[in-house]
Structure formats: C-alpha cells, structure tokens
C-alpha cells in the first residue's frame, strides 16, 4: 500500500470507507480505480447520508411547515453552511446549488448574455471580450461560444506552452479594457496543470473585468479558499469530491451574484409572481429554480464533512506524493510520453500520456482487462489534443484512496499493452 510513501493519510484505513474498492471485476481482477478525475468513488458515510435522508427525513424544502419539511430544510441549508465554510465563502448566501459544474458555468455565461442585468458591467454585447484558455474543459468553452454568438461579444483565449502551462506572455493585451470576464480552469482535467490565478486576477481587476475559476478539479484535491484566490466566481461539482452525482456548486461574491439577473425561472426563486410580471428572491434562492437536488446537497454536505475530517491539506500532500511516484514510475516505461508537466511542481495527480504506436482506446481496453480503470479520449478538452497534435490520451487520475500498488499495476499493465500491440 502507501507504506513506501511519506503520505500523511492512512490509506489502508480510508480504503475501507469505500465499498466499491472491494469490487472484483470480470476475471476476478481486483479494481485499480485510476479514473477519479472523471468521477470519484463514494465513502459509506455519503451513501448512508442519502439512505438516511430518503428513509427518515424526505420532504421538500422551504415550503413546508411540517416536521419532515423542517428536518429536510435544516439538512439542506445546514449542508450549505458547511460547503460555504469548506471553500472559505464570506457568507452562506454566496453558495448556489446547481446540477453540476457545467450548469454553474452556464449560469454565469447565460445571465451575462441575457442582457437582463441592470448594471451594464454584467451585460455582454458587441465589442465586449470574453477570455478563456486553450486548456479548458468543454464545459468552460461551449457556454462562452454560445454567449458570444448570442451577444456579438468576442471570445479570446490564452494559448499553452509546450510544457503544458498557460502562456501568459500576452496577458496585458489579452485582458484589456474591453474584457468583461475571464473564465479559466484552476486545475486542468487533462494536463493536471494547476494554474496560478494571481496574475490573471490582478490584471483583470486592473481593467474592471470579472474572473471566474473552474475549480472542478481543484476543490476535490487541495484546500481552496475563494478569498485567497481573489476570484469573483468559482464552480465545482459534487461527484468528483466524494459526493453524489446531480449536484454542483457556484460560489460568487455577494455583490456579483446580486448583480446577475435570474437564470432559470420557477419554483422558489421568486419573491412574488403575478401573471403580469414577477420579482425575484434574494441570492442564493434567486438561482435555485424548482425543487433543488435536496438529497444530493445533503450527500455533498456529508462528503465535505468526510474530507474535512481527513484534512484537505493531508489529501493534497498524499496526492503530491503519489504524483511524484507515478511520474518517476512512468519515466521508466519506454515509449510513454507525458502530455502536460512532467515534474510534480504546479500540477495535480492527473496524468495524461500517450503510448507510442498504440491508440489510447486500445491502451485503456487492455488495462481494463487487468482491472486497471483509466480514461481514454480527449477528456472533454479536445483543443488540448489539437494543440499537442494527438488524437487522444490515456489518463490516470488519483485520489485520497489511491495507492502506489495501483500505480505499479498501471505501469506493469503498460508493458503488457506494448507487448500485445507490437
């Protein structure tokens, strides 16, 4: 197990919290789950929180005077408190629940594009510029392409350096007084790169632009404090951080969320409705139309408790150890090329690579037959593949339950892949 590392986590004990890690796969293979950047596994505590909610407290929230309704509302809003604390939000009202990170990103792109904001700084139009980067997940590209198409704003982006980092050399021209918003990924889901957002935030605020961080891959893996990052908006997703599917989070500075017009209409996002027109609730409810993902928020609260119990600083340290180990291990496998930073500095435990002469699909399939689960493809970040001239990659990604044994199984598996296809 992780004994050969100086990991601060007791990984053997942690693994017992995740029932799926005991799964035997076809051919009675043990599971080496190296696909946590795609979705993480769930500890029993989260599964139990869901069961307990449905079996004992289930009711709709914010609408009921009855006891189950009060219990359910207390659980839902209590989770909001803990999730707010988890990312260092100034207020619980800065936490908006969405269905996933993609919706959180779309919420911001759509409300800026809607033209309904009172304050012109929150309205995109012709001549305005939106800045993203070439290492974005499709969920942080397509919403901005659609917003640009709808409003006549121009979409621009940071390019990438050959070693898989943001090319900030043109930052002062790229972020300029026409820029209304910059939306960039905090940790890339394909390259593993962790972006230093400080220079972007500094330049953005110089020109009066908003900064949004796609933190889908950082919040699960390191301590993230929105105040320290200095950004205005930040998105993340429950299912990658030990929580259920069906819930994502948008954090925004109070003043920014207040200024954005409503997104989806209906249910409890209103103040008062008449046939002639409606007024809207204060944030966060303004952005939570319809019955929210109640049980999923409760489950995410349990996930945050679990992560806090382990201590995110230790989770981060553990993954750094693993990343160092894996990079070293892969360096010894002939024909394997890392796509992205090949040293542990400024990167997380998500490693993409190619295997000479073998298509990623075939790499993934042969690994799967040995119980090693990795992801193959463009990882919803096709522009990165185009940038580096490859059709796809194989990607191994680690989490708090990952062991060096699993990384060894991957490295051994790659030798087998090569024997098979050469």
């Amino acid at each position: 197990m992780a004994n050969d590392l100086t990991s601060p986590l007791d990984v053997d004990r942690i693994r017992k919290d995740f029932p799926i890690l005991d799964r035997r796969l076809a051919g009675d293979h043990a599971l080496a789950y190296l696909d946590s950047a795609n979705t993480s596994q769930k500890p029993q505590a989260v599964i139990d929180a869901l069961t307990e909610h449905y079996a004992r407290h289930n009711a709709n929230v914010a609408r009921a005077v009855h006891q189950l309704g009060e219990e359910s509302t207390a659980a839902y809003e209590g989770a909001r408190d803990r999730i707010a604390a988890f990312v260092g939000a100034a207020s619980r009202d800065e936490i908006v629940f969405a269905k996933n990170a993609s919706e959180a990103l779309n919420l911001v792109a759509n409300t800026l594009a809607s033209g309904l904001a009172d304050d012109p700084r929150y309205r995109l139009g012709p001549g305005d510029e939106i800045v993203i980067s070439e290492m974005e997940h499709h969920s942080n590209i397509v919403p901005w392409q659609l917003a640009a198409r709808r409003t006549g704003a121009t979409l621009r982006w940071f390019g990438l350096t050959d070693d898989g980092r943001l090319d900030l050399s043109t930052i002062d021209e790229l972020i300029n007084p026409r820029t209304k918003i910059i939306s960039v990924v905090h940790q890339s889901n394909i390259l593993g790169t962790v972006n230093d957002l400080a220079p972007i935030v500094a330049r953005a605020h110089e020109v009066g632009a908003l900064v949004m961080a796609d933190a889908s891959q950082s919040v699960p893996h390191m301590p993230v404090d929105v105040a320290a990052l200095g950004v205005d908006l930040l998105a993340f997703t429950g299912h990658k951080m030990c929580g259920p599917t069906g819930v994502g989070v948008l954090w925004g500075r109070g003043a920014v969320l207040d200024a954005l017009p409503p997104f989806l209409g209906g249910g409890e996002m209103i103040e008062t409705v008449s046939m002639e027109g409606s007024t809207f609730a204060a944030v966060p409810h303004k952005f939570e139309a319809g019955t929210p993902p109640i049980a999923q928020v409760v489950g995410l609260g349990a996930a945050v408790d679990y992560l806090t119990g382990l201590d995110m600083a230790k989770v981060y340290a553990h993954e750094r150890e693993l990343t160092g180990y894996a990079l070293q291990r892969f360096a010894g496998v002939d024909g394997v090329t890392i796509i992205g930073p090949d040293t542990p500095e400024g990167r997380g435990g998500t490693i993409s690579f190619t295997v000479d002469g073998v298509h990623p699909h075939d790499v993934g399939q042969v690994l799967d037959e040995q119980g090693v689960a990795v992801r193959v493809g463009h990882h919803c970040a096709r522009p990165v593949c185009v940038r580096y001239g490859i059709p796809a990659t194989t990607r191994a990604s680690f989490y708090l339950y990952t062991t060096t044994d699993e990384i060894d199984a991957l490295a051994d598996g790659l030798e087998r892949v090569k024997r098979f296809f050469r």
Partner: protein, 150 residues
C-alpha cells in the same frame, strides 16, 4: 487475455491494413468522427453501373476502428450495390446484437471476428465508424452516379 475482443484477425488487419489510402475516381466521400475518442475516418465510394468499383479509406484511430475499415474494404470493393448493402446490414446487426447474434461467415468473411466487440458497448461505435461513413458516402454516390469527381 483479451481473447473475446482482440481476435488475431483484428490485430492482423490493424497491423497490416488492406486497401488503405484515398483513391480516385470516386462519386462521394464521407468523413465521420467519434467524438468520445477522436477517431476519424474518411471513406470514398466509386460506383459504376451498379457495382462498387472501389471503396477507399483513410483515418486514424484504435485497432478496432482501423481493422474494421480494412475489413470493410475487403468485403465491399467490387461488390454489387445491393449485395454491399446487405453485408453492411449484417455487420450493423452483428455489432448491435450485444453479443447475441450468430454471425454468418459466408456474408461477413473476416467481419465475424468482430462478434466479440459487440459485447463492449463503448467499442461498438469504433467498429461501426467506417461502416457508417460508407453508408453515408454510398447513398450519396448512388444519388449522383454518373458525375465522377476527379
């Protein structure tokens, strides 16, 4: 290991593809992409008097998608149009059969090696990529038969 999915025949076609490369003349061409993995294939179809005089292709992708294109070329080039569509239907049926369709070697030739792929839903798309492109190109070629593109 890998017995069911990676048949020797498939690996052979992958390592030594038959008829690869885009050729002229042709009446229609189709380019298909598998968005999940980035596999791409271009298929060209030349028809003359009810016969597929050539089915040429080029592309990049995994062993399954590339081997499947090679088998497609072998099976369909030189066939009558109707026979070709029958083979195409049989191959699609095999792929969508979740491993429960018994392939007919007389119709599918080396294509029967793909029977195991049908059990891997994520790979069925790979196996079908060139066949879908073929179907697309062939329908258009038949619509425009006569106007040869050079």
């Amino acid at each position: 290991m890998s017995d069911s999915l990676y048949q020797e025949i498939i690996l052979d076609h992958y390592k030594y593809p038959h008829g690869r490369g885009l050729r002229e003349p042709f009446q229609a061409e189709a380019h298909h992409v598998n968005p999940t993995c980035g596999d791409e294939i271009t298929v060209r179809v030349a028809v003359d008097g009810g016969t597929l005089t050539d089915v040429s292709y080029d592309g990049q992708g995994c062993s399954i998608s590339q081997a499947s294109a090679s088998v497609l070329h072998d099976l369909l080039s030189g066939q009558g149009v109707d026979d070709a569509f029958e083979v195409e239907r049989a191959f699609v049926e095999l792929m969508q059969g979740k491993g429960e369709v018994e392939p007919d070697e007389d119709v599918l030739g080396d294509g029967i090696a793909f029977a195991g792929v049908a059990k891997y839903p994520a790979r069925v798309k790979c196996a079908l990529l060139s066949w879908m492109a073929f179907k697309d190109a062939a329908s258009r070629a038949l619509a425009t038969e006569g106007e040869v593109t050079r």
